[in-house]
């Protein structure tokens, strides 16, 4: 498991160390260069000074061969660690050592006549500046050991690195602690999520979350809200369904009891017929409940297909609607030339429920007619019946689940139009529900939203 804390810690420590190392390297190189420059200048000045002292006669040189070289006074070393920083030699042009500082080696520090050079003297590398005085015929050599220079730089760098070694663990601790502190809201969120039960869908409350966590909290709260709404919907649907099944079941039971108790064959037959009606109604209710929950549960809207409307309506309305006889059904010929792009199952469900609704509200011998209604935009596939229609104040409620209006049919469940509405929303189609103007009756149809789903557009094929 990768922890944000560990990861942040490693990144921060690595970055800090890297920057530190880089800075140290930079300082090392830069210091070394500066030091070189300063020390070289010193060599040069010392050489010139010695030269001028010789010229002014303040330094007496041994003039003859075999005589010991004169001693040249140089500033005494100030630091214990860097003693004998400078050595000086004065050579005659003919190759005699005619003067040297104390501690300077007896072999020549350099073979150059002038300028800087590096040379191994007595097993040690030296940096030497040579200065030639042609008038007096001497060469002044001033040098220092490179080892000394390196030690200076090394000591300086050590002075930088040593505190770092002490500070890094301290820094590590601080980083660890502050990352932990920074992640505290996240931990609080985790704890609050861990602590809640499966039924608890209330919004998370973690005080005032920082802006990085707020989107997470908001998203989670949004999700909780959606789940709670879905569950509530499911719960109320189940309660409604159970409730709606009770009345037909009570009717069934009562009629069966009547049939059992009646001695009069006429009463018994009547009760059995009523039982049949109740069974039909109950099974229709169950079928619709299943259709409704299938619609609710379907995650996807299914694939849209080209459907020739006429035959599809014939197919969907072929099975007998229980409880009604003598209803005439007409399917307008234009529908046979009309195709619609829609999911076939949704189409079937919509047509079947609209048809059942129309048949159930029709009077004996009434006409149920399917037609293409060009008055609506877009044109809608419509069924009209000769029933009582829907009171205007109820027309907006008939698509509510389990709503049964004043003009209810005895076998209605209050689900049919709700199913149609849900299925049409799924199919991105509009539901057109109006009372007939020419006579009592209902026109119920569906068109397809052209703007929302170009794929679902209703097209009329010319014959």
């Amino acid at each position: 498991m990768s922890s944000i804390r560990t990861r942040l810690f490693i990144i921060l420590i690595a970055a800090t160390t890297l920057i530190w190392l880089f800075a140290t390297a930079w300082i090392y190189l830069d210091t070394k260069r500066q030091l070189q420059h300063v020390l070289d200048t010193r060599l040069m000045e010392a050489a010139r000074m010695v030269g001028s002292l010789v010229t002014s006669g303040e330094i007496a040189l041994s003039a003859r061969a075999g005589e010991a070289p004169a001693s040249i006074p140089l500033p005494e070393p100030t630091h214990v660690g860097y003693e004998r920083q400078l050595s000086c030699q004065i050579w005659s042009f003919d190759g005699r050592l005619i003067g040297r500082s104390s501690g300077a080696p007896e072999t020549a520090l350099s073979n150059e006549t002038s300028g800087f050079s590096e040379q191994e003297v007595g097993g040690e590398p030296w940096r030497v500046y040579a200065f030639a005085d042609r008038d007096r015929g001497i060469r002044v050599l001033v040098g220092d050991r490179l080892g000394l220079r390196d030690r200076l730089v090394t000591d300086l760098v050590r002075g930088l690195v040593l505190p770092a070694i002490v500070v890094v663990p301290l820094l590590a601790f601080l980083i660890w602690a502050s990352v932990g502190r920074g992640l505290r809201p996240l931990r609080r969120l985790t704890q609050s999520l861990k602590a809640r039960g499966p039924e608890d869908l209330s919004a998370i409350n973690v005080g005032n979350p920082p802006s990085e966590i707020r989107p997470v909290v908001d998203a989670l709260n949004g999700l909780f809200g959606k789940v709670a709404a879905a569950r509530e919907h499911e719960r109320s649907f189940t309660a409604f369904a159970a409730h709606e099944l009770r009345t037909p079941l009570a009717g069934l039971r009562t009629q069966v009891q009547v049939a059992l108790a009646a001695r009069d064959p006429e009463i018994r037959e009547g009760a059995l017929k009523q039982t049949l009606v109740a069974v039909d109604r109950t099974s229709r209710l169950v079928r619709q409940l299943l259709a409704m929950s299938a619609l609710d549960a379907a995650a996807e809207d299914g694939e849209a297909q080209e459907i020739v409307v006429g035959p599809a309506i014939e197919e969907a309305t072929a099975s007998r609607t229980p409880g009604k006889t003598g209803i005439r059904v007409e399917i307008d010929l234009t529908l046979h030339q009309t195709t619609v792009r829609m999911n076939r199952e949704l189409f079937h469900l919509v047509v079947r429920n609209l048809h059942e609704n129309a048949v159930q509200h029709s009077p004996e011998g009434g006409l149920v007619r399917w037609l293409l209604d060009g008055d609506t935009r877009p044109p809608s596939i419509t069924v009209e019946d000769e029933g009582p229609g829907i009171p205007e104040d109820e027309i907006n409620h008939v698509t509510d689940r389990f709503f049964r209006g004043r003009h209810r049919s005895p076998v209605g469940s209050g689900l049919g139009l709700a199913i149609v509405d849900t299925a049409l929303k799924r199919a991105n189609a509009s539901f057109v529900l109006r009372n007939r103007q020419d006579r009592p009756g209902l026109r119920a149809g569906f068109g397809v939203f052209l703007s929302k789903a170009p794929a679902g557009k209703l097209s009329i094929r010319s014959p």
């Binding site: 409730h243 709606e244 009770r246 009345t247 037909p248 079941l249 009570a250 009717g251 069934l252 039971r253 009562t254 009629q255 009891q257 009547v258 108790a261 009646a262 009463i267 009547g270 009760a271 009523q274 039982t275 009606v277 109740a278 109604r281 049964r404 209006g405 004043r406 209810r408 005895p410």
Partner: protein, 219 residues
């Protein structure tokens, strides 16, 4: 016993009408609040069976109106909503009893007898007067311990009279107890039934009060 059933489900309404009829009740059946109000305005019922969810309102409205008028007619609520809260709400609105759907027809009949008995201030399930013993539940009549077989109408007349012994009930009042609206009543139907009843339980058990009606002979 004449009762009014208010229920909007056609199958259930029919079942209650026929089934309670088999139990000896005279049943008027209506399917909406409006029809129930009309029925209550025109006739007197011994008990009311009331569904709660009706197309044009709630059965509870009918119940509250009834109680506001100081009408003490016993009311049995029959409903699909039977959570504890629903039951409490129903009973506190003035209902005498509460049955959740689906129910047993015999239980409905028994509860109707029970609430009407209690409404009449009786605790015993049987009615007796001068050696006549009538059991509304089992629908039996005994005279001095000997069982007598009565027709449905005869039983209803005797039941109505024995509930208020000594009180005169008019022919119209008796006819109300015997027939629902939809039944055609011959003008002399009550007289015919009283005549048959007298043959079975004794000629002088029922007194005719001229111009007023009938009553059971006092001891």
């Amino acid at each position: 016993m004449r009762i009014l059933v208010v229920e909007d489900d056609a199958v259930l309404l029919d079942g209650l009408k026929v089934g309670l009829g088999l139990h000896g009740f005279t049943v008027d059946a209506v399917a909406s609040c409006g029809d129930a109000r009309a029925a209550l305005a025109t006739a007197e019922f011994d008990a009311l069976v009331l569904d709660l969810m009706l197309p044009d309102g709630s059965g509870l409205d009918i119940l509250r109106e009834l109680r506001r008028r100081q009408d003490a007619t016993p009311v049995l609520l029959l409903t699909a909503k039977d959570t504890v809260a629903d039951r409490i709400g129903g009973l506190d609105s003035g209902a005498d009893d509460y049955l959740g759907k689906p129910f047993d027809l015999d239980e409905v009949a028994a509860r109707l007898r029970a609430i009407s008995r209690r409404a009449a201030g009786r605790a015993t399930p049987t009615l007796s007067w001068n050696g006549i013993e009538l059991d509304p539940g089992r629908r039996t009549v005994e005279i001095d311990g000997n069982p007598v077989v009565l027709s449905r109408r005869e039983f209803s007349i005797l039941e109505a009279l024995i509930k208020h012994p000594g009180t005169v009930l008019s022919k119209d009042q008796l006819a109300d107890r015997l027939y629902g609206w939809e039944e055609d009543v011959e003008s002399n139907a009550v007289e015919v039934h009283v005549h048959h009843l007298r043959v079975k339980i004794g000629r002088d058990a029922i007194e005719t009060v001229r111009g007023l009606g009938y009553r059971l002979r006092s001891a």
